[in-house]
Symmetry: C2
Subunit: 323 residues, 2 copies
């Protein structure tokens, strides 16, 4: 029996193929498969390409279960649109489709109950309880949500710089540091950069480390923004834990994404906030990457129990895969 896990994101699609012991026999890489960016056909082509490469490397011509964890599967409508097309892929007998936060969760906890919070350009949290029930909160994008994400942090910082320029906010190191990072001379040039050059969400999100730097140097405005972000991310975790009725029990929290490079500056206030509601929750290092989370879901769907030896096999054979 053979199983495939697919991690399909905004920049690349990675497929890994294993036997029923979790030994990875092949992998394949292709372009993005967020259908909001590349269209349904583009996404399906990318998935097909990655899976075909993995099968060819493994010298396997039929897969029992394939699990795709895709970015952009945010609403029921997204799910319905993509599932219809995923299901028509002939490479595997059975196909599962889930939001990419779910495979990040399954990877981070290696299939065990817990909560993952992802804070990169956007933000989202997902969790699974002892009864195997899933849920996901947040991930509503830069206009409606993504609280606590890199985009949120940097946008709040830019707004604070303009407020400070107006005299509506105290003076802040963010002004000089953000101008330097953006290679601009004057505060008003920021307005041009954002609206005339239309630099977009990814560019803005890339400025978040500047905020972390200023906060670590004690800048009060930057610290306030980082703490608010920590609180927003904690609220994502708490909402997941409440929905899954886990708040009184022990569970793991895995923190994934660039925002957590800020370390204790963001993790400490986040953890304090979470512990007020879920005192037994523990922060762990993510155990496996999202593609392995997708593979675990495929294995489980095929009736394989995820014992320690399976996790160890995945871990050991992942070494050659460019995750």
């Amino acid at each position: 029996m053979y199983f495939v896990g697919v991690d399909g994101g905004a920049t690349k699609t990675l497929a890994i193929l294993s036997d029923k012991q979790g030994r990875i026999l092949g992998w394949g890489l292709s372009g993005p498969s967020n259908y909001h960016q590349v269209g349904v056909e583009g996404a399906i082509n990318a998935i097909n390409e990655a899976v075909t490469k993995a099968m060819s490397m493994a010298k396997v011509n039929r897969v029992n279960v394939m699990c795709c964890g895709l970015a952009g599967i945010d609403t029921k409508r997204d799910y319905e649109i993509m599932y219809k097309h995923i299901n028509s892929i002939e490479l595997a007998e059975k196909k599962i489709l889930v939001h990419d936060a779910i495979i990040a969760l399954m990877g981070a906890t290696a299939g065990r109950p817990g909560v993952v919070v992802i804070a990169g350009t956007g933000s989202v949290a997902a969790g699974m309880n002892e009864r195997g029930e899933y849920t996901r909160v947040g991930g509503w994008g830069p206009i409606l949500g993504d609280e606590g994400s890199a985009y949120y942090i940097a946008r709040e910082a830019l707004a604070a710089v303009l407020k400070s320029y107006d005299g509506r906010e105290e003076e802040t190191m963010l002004t000089s540091e953000l101008l330097k990072a953006m290679n601009l001379r004057e505060v008003e040039d920021i307005v041009n950069k954002i609206y005339v050059e239309k630099v977009g969400v990814t560019y803005i999100a890339s400025l978040a480390p500047v905020v972390t730097k200023c906060a670590s140097l004690g800048d009060r405005v930057a610290l306030r923004i980082i703490r608010r972000a920590a609180k927003e991310l904690a609220e994502l975790i708490i909402a997941v834990a409440k929905k899954l009725k886990m708040t009184e029990y022990e569970f793991s929290i895995a923190l994934v994404g660039g925002v957590f490079k800020a370390g204790d500056l963001i993790i400490k206030p986040l953890y304090e906030e979470v512990k007020r509601v879920a005192p037994k929750a523990k922060i762990i290092e993510p155990m496996l990457p999202p593609c392995a989370g997708a593979l675990i879901m495929a294995l489980r769907e095929g009736g394989i129990k995820i014992e320690q030896n399976v996790v160890t096999n995945i871990k050991n054979t992942l070494k050659n895969v460019p995750v």
Copy 2:
């Protein structure tokens, strides 16, 4: 001697022409003149058209001073780009160019010292003190600023609906009322509307009255959003008053824009906040529209003192102009 005031906005450009007593002899209407939308040439053409129509109606072939108050003149760079072109218009001997918030101020207070805060799709405040010094704060657009605007209020409300859906926010009447206003069935459909249909800032801003309605019915989430908006708008006024060293003196505050249709719900907390810093400030009804503010600036630039009879003349002869 003849004078022209131009109010150039995102939807239309209106020019009014008067004699030195402020009696309006002609007016002209044309398309938008925000150069960020229609380009420099488009903006100049719209201004030319409106002024030419006004001159033709007044049977005047030369104007002494023209004052243009234009949307989109937010930075020094914007000013330099547009001034060069405004200055090349041959219809008037002397030309002045200012931000549209300044003409709104001059209209609202009929040329007297005071502060105006504009809260429509965006938000901005401007003021003038007894010494004739001007300043402007805010107006940094939907990503970097516009706190307290209709866009801000509606976006916060949509984000609250999604937070509530996730269990990160209490239940709110905003959910059913916004869905009804957007003609959608489910909360997740909001995501599609915003990111797939890409409805944009103006559409989102148009939902602000729904928030006012829910707040007036006592919805706690809506009330919190409206109060936060009031505080943000108060901060714009306070920043202007501080910059102009007016906080200890009597001055008028004029409230302009659709957000203030919410009445006491937003005006009461705003005024309380302002009075803590500027206890002698008084809220007034705007006296004249922005085009009259531009005309007053043109008259003053031409050496005309703005006595009561000039204001009365403008007021009386404005009746036939579609402001």
